[in-house]
Point group: D2
Chain length 136, copies 4
């Protein structure tokens, strides 16, 4: 758990549990996306309603290791596995409070112009901040 450069707690919600009584597999992606976007906004200058580029998800993957259930809180670790010209691949670890590994997920953003939705290079200060999470 020391391998991630940024950590955030995401509390589960009542509705996250599905018919089988545990957090539904799609929720894990929503949790990853929440942590990534919170970090982008708070640390790397992403402005949701501004004019700058936005990150669109082009690929995601998750391996589920243990179940988690409401009202558990999920601790999410975030690092950057690859930082390209326009894209970034994040790696995340989701843990229960007792440090049980719940899931490992990857998530790839391509940054695009907000209007044309065409790829654009990742600019400063976002590039420098993303680089800090590489090999964290």
């Amino acid at each position: 758990m020391t391998e991630y450069g940024y950590w955030q707690d995401v509390p589960t919600r009542w509705k996250d549990n599905d018919h089988y009584g545990h957090v539904n597999n799609a929720v894990h992606y929503s949790v990853m996306d929440t942590v990534i976007n919170t970090w982008l906004i708070e640390r790397a200058g992403l402005d949701l309603d501004g004019a700058g580029p936005i990150g669109l998800c082009v690929e995601s993957h998750c391996v589920y290791k243990a179940s988690v259930s409401f009202p558990d809180v999920i601790s999410v670790g975030l690092r950057v596995a690859h930082l390209g010209t326009s894209s970034v691949r994040y790696e995340t670890g989701l843990f229960r409070a007792d440090r049980t590994l719940v899931a490992e997920g990857t998530f790839t953003h391509v940054f695009v112009d907000r209007e044309t939705r065409r790829p654009v290079p990742i600019a400063e200060p976002m590039r420098t901040e993303l680089a800090k999470l590489v090999n964290a």
Copy 2:
């Protein structure tokens, strides 16, 4: 079931069922909203990405009569209970395939300017179309 002027089927999804094995209460609102916005787009000229006014929800209410569970399909009836200058109150009925009443919900939109988010009068052709659903 003849009291509604517009009908639409909304299939449930796996994730709609919660820990208690039935469609979660918040999903009913999402189902109503889906039917209302589908109708607004297809029949009344709402353009999600255009420059015209948008409808924001200012009040909603639901009474739950019977449970519904994935993979049930929910049949939703829609009518207009009140059509004001800028606002409209919809009434909906949610039914299972066997015609069991699942829930009755109300949903109030205020139409606002997309940028300022200030109320604006409901204009044509939307007003005429909404009027057709009154006392349907």
Copy 3:
């Protein structure tokens, strides 16, 4: 904001924002439900996977006062407006960090036998705990 006997913070998620760039109206119900069930589990003895009664939502209502948007944190106040034999009506207030009132919602649970889904009286210790939230 002193009128609620229990408070809990619920962080928004990326996916809560809808096409209009603010937290979707159905999410408010999910937030209320999360706070109510967290309280029931942590304070009032609800056991999600046990054999005891469960609370099913039979009616809900929300008035929306101001928008809220990811990554805002929603502070939720909870009180009990009416405590009956088998049912309880909760009242909630949702606030932004700057204390702006986002929404006021009501939510009614009927407690039922988990298997038969027939109403049963609310027993101890839940009744005493719920009573503490009345006129809080």
Copy 4:
């Protein structure tokens, strides 16, 4: 589009669109899960509330090719890429009405005993039905 042995249409919902005005990446997984479970229930004998084994997701993956937006309907093709003793890996294709490929996803179920949550062999009639979707 002839490579999938089972097809199902899943209409989008208003709430599927996120802040960027298209269906959120986590929704694609919910759509795949819906189609897989509908098929399991209707064709392969899965009983959500019975005593038999259930399929838990242990790995999922998605590559996003084109955006899709409410009120689009998503056509989902399903096939089986690998059928093991206890596990099955599904492959799905998500398409817009104009046949544009929206996303390709994989989803792996391990079938487990409902109570112990330990893997069990996939039995008949499910095995025969799953085999029909291999190399479909």
